[in-house]
């Protein structure tokens, strides 16, 4: 019977071949061609890694830096929240965790745009500060605004996987630790925290990756000055028309992310397919 059931995967196999595998091979092909001809060359990669003109490398570095800071902030804010959530009663827990997903139903661009209303020089936050007699904040169009946008948009992707792995922890282990004389703090740092590692790792990947490649948040909140690698790629496809160079940057990004994912996957084994579920 299983022989016939196996066939139900055939449509997907074909679909994946055309829409997942072929496009990636095409990107690879385009990255090896330049505007002039169809001959394969490494010129696009040479241009990106050019040490005499490091403009692209600096953008890549800035993207990694901003994404790194955003991820750490998400972790620092998100872990306590995930922990609090995991200690709630099952019914409250379900309602609260759904409140984390709910904002995603309001358009992501619109939510980011709403931050402009909050942060602008004459925005809501500054109006409140002014009425309280406090100095106003200049947040818009800085790296800080981009980080804030990232944290805002990706925080649920940090909280939910950590929450999932915290709820999976066997309560007996915590009781055992307490029975053996460990205090609450020791139990947390020696038992709970290490056991939540798979969740932390998926949280890190789920926030770091989109934060590196975003081009909307940096465009809306960062104003042109804080362009990230995503903005650069978008420009090659939508403005400059240099698909070869844009593809090369995508390949670099892809390799970077798959490598870091591979390094992290050692910790993620227990949580395979975990993620948001």
């Amino acid at each position: 019977m299983s022989r016939r059931l196996r066939l139900t995967a055939v449509p997907y196999a074909l679909y994946a071949l055309i829409f997942i595998v072929a496009p990636l091979l095409l990107i690879l092909y385009y990255s090896l061609t330049t505007g002039q001809g169809t001959a394969l060359s490494l010129d696009n990669f040479r241009r990106f890694f050019d040490l005499s003109d490091t403009v692209y490398l600096r953008v890549l570095w800035r993207s990694l830096w901003i994404a790194g800071v955003s991820t750490v902030v998400c972790f620092v804010l998100g872990y306590p929240m995930a922990y609090i959530l995991s200690r709630m009663k099952e019914r409250t827990r379900n309602v609260v965790s759904f409140l984390f997903i709910l904002p995603m139903w309001m358009n992501f661009l619109l939510r980011t745009y709403a931050w402009m209303t909050l942060l602008e020089r004459t925005g809501v936050i500054n109006t409140v500060l002014k009425n309280l007699g406090l100095p106003s904040l200049e947040i818009m169009y800085t790296a800080g605004a981009v980080i804030l946008g990232n944290v805002y948009n990706f925080l649920p992707f940090m909280i939910l996987p950590i929450y999932t792995s915290l709820t999976k922890i066997d309560q007996n282990l915590i009781e055992a630790s307490e029975d053996l004389g460990a205090g609450r703090a020791v139990t947390f740092f020696r038992v709970v925290f290490p056991l939540s590692f798979p969740g932390i790792m998926s949280g890190f990947t789920m926030t770091f990756m989109p934060a590196v490649t975003t081009f909307i948040i940096s465009k809306l909140l960062g104003g042109g000055q804080n362009a990230l690698i995503g903005d650069l790629i978008e420009k090659q496809f939508k403005v400059a028309g240099d698909w070869g160079f844009g593809s090369a940057m995508s390949v670099i990004l892809m390799v970077l992310i798959l490598l870091s994912m591979n390094a992290l996957s050692r910790y993620e084994k227990e949580n395979a397919g975990g993620g948001l579920m």
Partner: protein
């Protein structure tokens, strides 16, 4: 400690919901500018009903979300079922391919599909957009159905066949009910992702076709029309009510299950469950 916990959760929710509150507040703003407050008014809700551009984008967004989710759910569920019965090596290989669009940055998925369309000559438009959404939705369906299949007793299906059910009947009567939560979950995830997607749509939509995300993006430079705020507020309230109903029902199930649990277990077993 309890106060501290509530205060912390409160602050996190304030952070997550502040922009949404601003959007909803400004949807009732009588003035056009988002800098000034012109008194409470429903005028944007009224002019929303006449705004063809936004309504067209809304229609596209909903049609693409539902259609791509339905197609992805069918292909994805079938794929999960097939992969479950494959040799391990082949199934793992397919699973790795499935992970690619999940792991890849959206922007890479978007431009790789754009290149594919140009390469094989698919015109950018509604169908290219739909195909793109199906592509990024399928993996999530597979990844939410597969664990259900793994947790299922392999022999139930054979037992149904032994008892005289045909394969199709056995499938719909035995397997589907078992994996239904995974299918529903995958479908809902697909709809959510599709509605919220911007990056992939941005690269794969043609000039004539637009979703809400694309409309918002093109407005962002000139200033968002307040009608969009009105529309988002409506959508937010609808989804909130929808999910609350589902959640209350699920909560009732949990309570029923717990009550059964109380009846079937000794009081001691129950007390060890409470923390």
């Amino acid at each position: 400690m309890k106060v501290l916990k509530s205060a912390y959760s409160g602050l996190i929710f304030l952070f997550l919901y502040a922009p949404i509150a601003v959007l909803i507040a400004f949807s009732f703003n009588g003035a056009k500018s988002r800098g000034a407050w012109g008194g409470f008014s429903f005028r944007w809700y009224e002019s929303l009903a006449q705004n063809a551009e936004i309504l067209h984008a809304l229609r596209n967004t909903l049609v693409i979300a539902l259609l791509s989710a339905v197609i992805a759910t069918i292909i994805g569920t079938a794929a999960a079922l097939g992969m479950h019965h494959m040799r391990r090596g082949l199934a793992n290989f397919m699973l790795n391919v499935t992970y690619l669009p999940v792991l890849n940055p959206d922007i890479v998925t978007g431009i790789s599909l754009l290149i594919l369309y140009v390469f094989i000559g698919i015109n950018l438009g509604f169908s290219s957009l739909l195909l793109a959404h199906i592509t990024f939705n399928i993996p999530y369906v597979i990844l939410s159905v597969s664990p259900r299949l793994k947790g299922m007793n392999r022999h139930v299906f054979e037992a149904a066949l032994d008892l005289g059910a045909g394969p199709a009947r056995a499938f719909f009567k035995v397997i589907v009910p078992e994996i239904l939560p995974g299918i529903v979950n995958g479908f809902l995830l697909a709809v959510t992702l599709s509605i919220d997607d911007f990056v992939i749509s941005f690269f794969t939509a043609g000039p004539g076709v637009s979703t809400l995300s694309i409309t918002v993006y093109s407005m962002a430079r000139k200033g968002i029309k307040p009608e969009i705020n009105a529309l988002s507020s409506i959508m937010f309230v609808v989804v909130l009510l929808l999910l609350l109903t589902v959640n209350i029902r699920a909560g009732r199930d949990i309570r029923r299950r717990t009550q059964n649990h109380v009846r079937s277990r000794s009081p001691r077993a129950l007390s060890s469950r409470e923390h």
